[in-house]
Symmetry: D2
Subunit: 422 residues, 4 copies
Amino acid sequence: MDDSVEPASLIDQFTCVRQLSERLCEPLEIEDYSLQAMAETSPAKWHLAHTSWFFETFILKPFEPGYQCWHAQFEYLFNSYYNGVGAQFPRPQRGLLSRPAVKEVYDYRHYVTEKMLALLTDIDPNHRPEIISRLELGIHHEQQHQELFFTDLKYCWSKNPLYPVYCNSPLENLAEPAADAWLNHDGGEVSIGRCRDRGFCFDNEEPEHAVLLAPFAIANRLVSNADYRAFIDDGGYQRPEMWLSDGWAAIKQQQWQCPLYWRLQDGQWLEYTLHGMQPVNPAAPVCHLSFYEADAYARWAGARLPTEFEWEVAADTWAGRSPLAGQFLESERYHPLATSLDFFGSVWQWTSSAYLPYPGYQPAQGAVGEYNGKFMCSQWVLRGGSCVSSRKHLRSSYRNFFYPADRWQFTGLRLAKNNTDK
Amino acid sequence: MDDSVEPASLIDQFTCVRQLSERLCEPLEIEDYSLQAMAETSPAKWHLAHTSWFFETFILKPFEPGYQCWHAQFEYLFNSYYNGVGAQFPRPQRGLLSRPAVKEVYDYRHYVTEKMLALLTDIDPNHRPEIISRLELGIHHEQQHQELFFTDLKYCWSKNPLYPVYCNSPLENLAEPAADAWLNHDGGEVSIGRCRDRGFCFDNEEPEHAVLLAPFAIANRLVSNADYRAFIDDGGYQRPEMWLSDGWAAIKQQQWQCPLYWRLQDGQWLEYTLHGMQPVNPAAPVCHLSFYEADAYARWAGARLPTEFEWEVAADTWAGRSPLAGQFLESERYHPLATSLDFFGSVWQWTSSAYLPYPGYQPAQGAVGEYNGKFMCSQWVLRGGSCVSSRKHLRSSYRNFFYPADRWQFTGLRLAKNNTDK
Amino acid sequence: MDDSVEPASLIDQFTCVRQLSERLCEPLEIEDYSLQAMAETSPAKWHLAHTSWFFETFILKPFEPGYQCWHAQFEYLFNSYYNGVGAQFPRPQRGLLSRPAVKEVYDYRHYVTEKMLALLTDIDPNHRPEIISRLELGIHHEQQHQELFFTDLKYCWSKNPLYPVYCNSPLENLAEPAADAWLNHDGGEVSIGRCRDRGFCFDNEEPEHAVLLAPFAIANRLVSNADYRAFIDDGGYQRPEMWLSDGWAAIKQQQWQCPLYWRLQDGQWLEYTLHGMQPVNPAAPVCHLSFYEADAYARWAGARLPTEFEWEVAADTWAGRSPLAGQFLESERYHPLATSLDFFGSVWQWTSSAYLPYPGYQPAQGAVGEYNGKFMCSQWVLRGGSCVSSRKHLRSSYRNFFYPADRWQFTGLRLAKNNTDK
Amino acid sequence: MDDSVEPASLIDQFTCVRQLSERLCEPLEIEDYSLQAMAETSPAKWHLAHTSWFFETFILKPFEPGYQCWHAQFEYLFNSYYNGVGAQFPRPQRGLLSRPAVKEVYDYRHYVTEKMLALLTDIDPNHRPEIISRLELGIHHEQQHQELFFTDLKYCWSKNPLYPVYCNSPLENLAEPAADAWLNHDGGEVSIGRCRDRGFCFDNEEPEHAVLLAPFAIANRLVSNADYRAFIDDGGYQRPEMWLSDGWAAIKQQQWQCPLYWRLQDGQWLEYTLHGMQPVNPAAPVCHLSFYEADAYARWAGARLPTEFEWEVAADTWAGRSPLAGQFLESERYHPLATSLDFFGSVWQWTSSAYLPYPGYQPAQGAVGEYNGKFMCSQWVLRGGSCVSSRKHLRSSYRNFFYPADRWQFTGLRLAKNNTDK
């Protein structure tokens, strides 16, 4: 924790993020809060409670003397996966928890928020560094769940033929589309990852370390819906030579023929969005692809996905670290819009990198050490953030990760290729 | 349809049953209306809508000129299984329909109820018999869904470690337990089933026909929790010789060791009920058994289950047809209480009879013919009604049916045996 | 056991049935003996060993003093489902038993046969009735496995695109097709089942008892392939109103569009048979149908399946009890040929009767009591025998039983209808 | 292809490898050739045929004018996964191919071998480089299937309670166990992979490229059974903090408590081996672990798995490239024996590296390009070879790959750790 960060500023961030989670729920009916359409998605109500549980478990219980839990069983009900804390209510059944009711979950949130504010305004100097560190983690943790709130809700609503609408604002384009270009990088020894001295980061971004890269080129824009339609129209989903073996098996078994929310109706491609059912916008980034589809598209296009290292170096080179341009949650358009030169925002970008620990990686001590490390297996790294990520949540070193068959996040891609001229 | 039934009376029944469905929901939170814990259970909201859909589809649309549907997609969303009407929203996903919201479902109900009342008060004489016939069917259909409302809600709530309570009234016994006795019947040619001239019945109770019975004896009371505990304590779940082959496979695969809602806690058997978690009452009828368990218990006890014909004749002989005594929905205790001499009420009684058509059975014409006939396969007949059945819904000829592994209904048993003295 | 049956005759039967099981295997390669394409089928080698295990377990071990088992683990490996004997090797893995090798299984068979012959020629008078009773059971048991040998082998070979041939003889018709007619029966009280005084029967045929029948008519011939093609061509598999609910679910899930071994090739229907791939013969009985398909066909044809009682009475009335005409294993054509007036042979006939105990049914004492009774659940009765049944194995009271989705037996149907003229 | 490799030498290699495949089958009964206990294992017969199919498809058909296929359907039956060649017989059903019989498969093999020898002794100079390249690939391909022959057979036989024995030779130790030591490496820029100029390698080893390594230490020996028992005895399988999240889920679902072939019998650990059931040898390398178990063991031991780069550099540094010492197929002991200082042989060693393409990787042209590249997803790299690998088949750059849950290969591990002293 950097001393230069004012406590007041962190308290502000805490207050803002707690309020935002609730404001995001305003368009919901009470009935929407409990939806769970698959094991991987969680109900909105559960996100609201779990993010409170996080502060309660990791800050209030250990550092607030005499803290009274809101409810003895919430420790069990709203623990996601922290074995170090105890057993967990089965994840696929979260949608069955009609009780506690939504109102009680809000009461629980407000109780935790108030207790946290009391603790933070009179912080115990002996535990200050640990409390601040966990507070920052809890804030970023809640930002992640704000994004999952959107992706989970969208997936659940997509199963309803009434196609509920989250936001009625029109999906006008926010930026001019970019002229296509390849950005060339010479490769060589580059610095990857981050160290906590430079501000908050997750443990999976550490330690900063050197990596050797061959020369490469990376596209200046995201792959668009028009691009992806050309792949579909060229028989992409029927040509095994385009696919990884696991990917070919997956699309055959799941009968995938297009991105997750597309459907062909009377010869027109439509797409379910949080702004309702919409025609597929050719100029917008393609979205809700699995890794298998992103990989197959890249092969079809005569290119490949970038490694996470190439992506990070390119973002550092061409995007600048801060401030982040691009389409984020703050843009209040919950669907990717026209492609642009931004490296960040709109859609998460699949890389060709398996999600693995960096050399010398050490998970944090205690149960919070379960946050990242134990998932470093069979998942893939995504970079850049999406239209439902908070702008302040991101960095060029930020590593998101999902399984290769996952499609319900806002996931797309950017092409790369070897630069053999160098 | 009997001419002696006054239309006014049917209108009263219609009004009552429509009101009752809503009154039963009063203890629910909005969050409870959407619960679906397995494919076989439906959300309370869906029951409310589907029973309205039934009147709309089978009476208002065909017989009310110019009838305007409440919502074009409800025909699809709230059709249960009537292929003759059209495609159906997938049953296992009913819990994902957060929209229409509960409020809109009530608006839909009230719209249908009002339109029905208008139609019934000015009934078209040309269609009167068909309308009256379908009205009676719709009333009984809604009564069935009132029972399913309770069994489905209980199953869903049982998955929540907070164990929600539907009714806070204590589970005092409603009747004195019976002294055990065998009731002996001489067998011979008996009359089974019913003909519609004698008042409403479902098509599966027709036609009335003669059946030959051997002499038999039937118990004067239901099997109790104390009885069933003796079976458990005698290793009933570990002794394959007690079980049908399919039953043995089921209990091994599902790891069943006791009735559905029992759990052993600190050496005491507890049971989840709609009145909350309760100690198992030894004197009350055992409940929430599969057919396999009922059959195994009977074998262990040196007896057997009665056939549905034996049961019907015994009920006609010893219970009288009307009025029905026993514990029903009207008793407002939503859990079976002390066993008594009643043939009806408390728990549905598994018989040894497969659910098959009676000789000469004819399903009704049109889509309502899908009500019963297409399910006459691999299910078993249950008789007598339960503590969440409407008293007026039952008859001695009434045939309920479930799959042999089903346990979420209020299902128990009564013993029978051959009477070889005769 | 009838005193008039000479022991010598039973010994002859025993010898014949033991030899026949081996002769039936002559067309097999060693590689064919271990095939198991689904859990329900068993390898030929397993049938050979299990039928020997049966004599060893139920006769040699209890009644031959000092009997030495061939191999200590065979009791476990070749026990099918007799929990009273002990644990069983998992049924779905029987095809993994490459050892004991085929040669050793034959050695085991011969050892058991010789020991049995020695025991039978010097039978202990004290145990004679029990030994004779079990001997008869064992003979009939082995005859059942001879039939399963064919059906299991056919199913396994059908998975091989080389389509192995069991018998090269041409499938000429064995009889003239019958002129269609309905046979009318007046109904009334009839006698069903059998008592053991009249010769061997299985316990599930007992006790003989009276049943009341309404007047009915039954077809004088089996449904033919031409008949069934008309059902297919009329969209039978696409019309839900023809099907039981479970049946409709099954054909959608399994994507059934025709009988099990049919395939449409260049506009022609072909059928895999034990005589190789053959054109579907329009005049031959349709075969390898599930109960669901038989039931749907009957509904489409404006008829129904007979009850097992109707079938038995009709067979007693029009077929005569003995000798049985029709196409059996002895005909040495392993596929049903032209339909005829025979009630027996060619294909097993699905009835509309669930497989349930007769009134007063008592399973045999001890582990042999597991032969029939524990399967009286969720299966359906078939009657009449097939082209791979032994002629002597059958009777009009004989009850075969399979699950409604089973198709790998030689299963077809005969129509029935109510006779409302009476 | 290096010019200095004499054709005669390759012909010799071809002849040897073809003979060896057959010699390895000598202990088998005919019944053993068809075993397939799970989708991932193939029958011995299938391996024999598929390796012939490979030469037929990729050399004889394209390069032998007028070549007559042995059997038109073998292209379909024995194609493993080459979509570029055509459709494939379903992998999980290979065990159902009782025909072609074993004898015919040998005839097919001999036909292909003879045709190949004829082609090779009179090689068309225009296609010589391509033929030689494919010949080498085919030889190494057949060597891989020789290893799979053992692992698949062992898995299938392990399901048989008679526990067949492949080899009766005693499992005496082949080498002295090593004194434990950490080998320290300074890290830095190292060369990884291989280029084909230096002799045959698979395309996944190319291109040779530089990688940056941090200082590390690697164990001088494999983890032993005694080591692994300490992990089990310390509750390793019950402590979630030792496991990756996917691994914990896998061991709970599969109920894994020890390595694949271990079982606890009367307090003693036994292990099924190709030399029969044996006591677990404490000094021998632990074997048949999943990646999850190897990873958990390393975490428990306060160490980690090496990356594939660390392993390769260590092997180049301390093992020497050639000749390879260690226990291989040529040792004729088909189970790992005492641990030693060898880097190669005994058991494949799980690394912490996901199986991914090297920078600049290009799959081979045409269907042979499906050999490696399309599997670069969700699998993990193993290094070093096992007791059933051919010695000549291996190199320090050799990359084997399996899914993290796979346990039926001879898979173990070697520990590594960061060297923070540097």
